[in-house]
């Protein structure tokens, strides 16, 4: 195959596109400089045909290295920041890793991989890598329990939703995300910036939210993505004032009406969209009408691919997706099949048809069992979140000797709340739940808490459910 037929990231750094940058809290680099510089000391040709674990301490080096490794290595596994050390060996073995690219060589001294290539801030070099192949992109699923699964993508599939999905026309976009770019949701944004001719402003887990927002403003961020939990945190912080993105994107969790309305109020000039995507199924669709759920028409008639080559159906309540943007397979010795015989990925996300719209009700494996009746915590949270004084909520199961479990909820309020007000507020929230939920779904107890934990992947932590 001639190199020109392969689509690689480096081909999107044309020197004619000046003014594009990639930045984190400490560094600001010009993307056009990367055509003559290397973060691998010009040694990327040594990665030709290799199976590379890309494991850097921060996102900037990860992003730079992705640009250099893509099109050279046989495969590249993006190591997320929170991979537990006990899973490293099985990930390396299942992905048949033979080379580690890292700025922390000591971390990989005993991992059984001989070849370690150092990555650092880019400097000018004579020799730059050439695109010779379509590199396999491997990512880890973000599940909170057990060994993460390795999912195999192609760059073409990862970028499948990017062309023709540029919601706000205008000058070259400056993208930012609360996500880490080594996860699917964040990688989508990084790729949008690189492939879509824009700039990229990276997040940093050690940075205070107010400092992060100040940086977003200073860099002129126009397009920003995160989970509903990320966005709720921003709305709650009061730090959003003065930040005026043109496009606000939510993904990774259910975007309920409350958070969509809250964002519309905070960013009156922004187009606000929520996207459905997963590491396995890829980007399914984006919804830009400001309403929770998605039009039933997106499902098509089950007669071959619908819009954008994405085919969706609902079986036993869960959304199934067949798409060119979906991953190609799970990787590893005991890897399960990614799709059913017809090529559909079972997302495990449960939906319900009401009128002409489907609504997400929760994860299949997150169900709370109350005396044999099933409850999705997310449907309760969506009701609680509609209360104007509530910023975010988490419903969970509490063990019961009578019914196995009952529903309780932790609630974060928009403003602090004194004890005299708490009882009345609790009654209002319970009344709202009672009005729209079956009795076993109404929280038996509501606790007001100052904050709720959010995982490294930006999702509401549900581990103690």
């Amino acid at each position: 195959m001639s190199p020109r037929e392969v689509f690689a990231l480096r081909d999107h750094l044309g020197p004619e596109l000046t003014g594009r940058t990639i930045s984190d809290p400490r560094h600001l680099l010009r993307l056009s400089d990367l055509t003559v510089q290397s973060c691998l000391a010009g040694r990327s040709n040594e990665l030709d045909g290799r199976a590379v674990l890309l494991a850097t301490s921060g996102q900037l080096l990860a992003g730079l290295a992705m640009i250099e490794i893509d099109g050279v290595a046989r495969r590249m596994l993006l190591c997320p920041p929170d991979l537990k050390p006990e899973y490293l060996a099985s990930v390396i073995s299942d992905a048949e890793i033979d080379t580690v690219v890292t700025d922390q060589p000591e971390r990989f001294a005993d991992c059984g991989v001989d070849r370690v290539l150092a990555v650092g801030l880019p400097r000018e070099v004579e020799c730059r890598g050439q695109t010779t192949r379509a590199t396999e992109w491997l990512m880890l699923t973000s599940g909170t329990s057990g060994v993460p699964k390795i999912v195999r993508h192609t760059l073409e599939g990862l970028c499948g939703a990017i062309i023709g999905d540029r919601p706000a026309p205008g000058a070259s976009p400056v993208w930012a995300t609360f996500y880490d770019i080594r996860r699917y949701g964040g990688l989508q944004i990084f790729l949008r910036a690189i492939v879509g001719g824009g700039s990229m402003v990276l997040s940093d887990p050690d940075e205070m939210l107010a400092d992060h927002v100040a940086r977003l403003k200073a860099r002129g961020v126009t397009h920003m993505s995160g989970t509903p939990s990320h966005w709720r945190k921003l709305l709650m912080s009061g730090a959003a004032s003065g930040f005026a993105p043109r496009y606000v994107r939510l993904s990774g969790e259910i975007a309920d009406q409350a958070v969509l309305d809250g964002l519309a109020l905070a960013f009156p000039n922004a187009s606000i969209g929520h996207a459905y995507a997963s590491t396995e199924a890829g980007v399914g669709f984006a919804v830009n009408d400001g309403r929770e759920g998605f039009p039933a028409g997106l499902l098509g008639a089950g007669e071959g691919p619908g819009r954008d080559g994405v085919d969706m159906k609902v079986v036993d309540g869960s959304l199934r997706i067949r798409s060119k943007r979906a991953a190609q397979a799970y990787v590893g010795r005991n890897a399960a099949a990614l799709t059913d015989a017809d090529g559909f990925v079972d997302t495990g996300d449960m939906v319900e048809l009401r009128g002409d719209r489907y609504y997400f009700v929760g994860r299949r494996n997150g169900i709370i069992n109350v005396g044999g009746l099933k409850v999705h915590p997310e449907e309760i949270e969506a009701v609680i979140n509609r209360h104007p004084e509530v910023r975010m909520a988490r419903a969970k199961s509490r063990k019961s000797p009578i019914t196995g479990g009952i529903v309780v909820a932790d609630v974060v309020l928009t403003e602090g709340c004194d004890d005299s007000h708490a009882a009345g507020l609790r009654d209002e929230i319970v009344a709202a739940c009672r009005a729209s939920l079956a009795p076993h779904k109404v929280p038996a107890m509501i606790r007001f808490v100052p904050a709720l934990d959010v995982t490294a992947a930006g999702k509401l932590a549900r581990t103690d459910a």
Partner: protein
């Protein structure tokens, strides 16, 4: 407030929330006759655990769920401190 009074107060509260018409709570009233369903009892036991710091039905390995209101209250009164 004694355990007995707290239990009765909690039952009245839950009856109101669950729209259950509670008969007079005599000791020999069977739990079935209270009109509480298993969800209402589950909520009651959870709230009493928070209020009294004990759940006698989870604590005991051979827990038998009580038959009457009196049995139910005694289960709380008999828990070793």
């Amino acid at each position: 407030m004694s355990a007995r009074l707290r239990i009765i107060a909690a039952m009245k509260q839950i009856a109101e929330e669950q729209k259950v018409k509670l008969p007079p709570l005599a000791d020999d009233l069977t739990l079935n006759e209270t009109g509480f369903d298993s969800l209402a009892f589950a909520i009651l036991v959870a709230r009493l655990e928070d209020d009294l710091g004990v759940d006698p039905f989870t604590l005991a390995e051979d827990a038998v769920f009580p038959h009457t209101v009196g049995d139910f209250i005694r289960a709380y009164e008999n828990v070793p401190a």
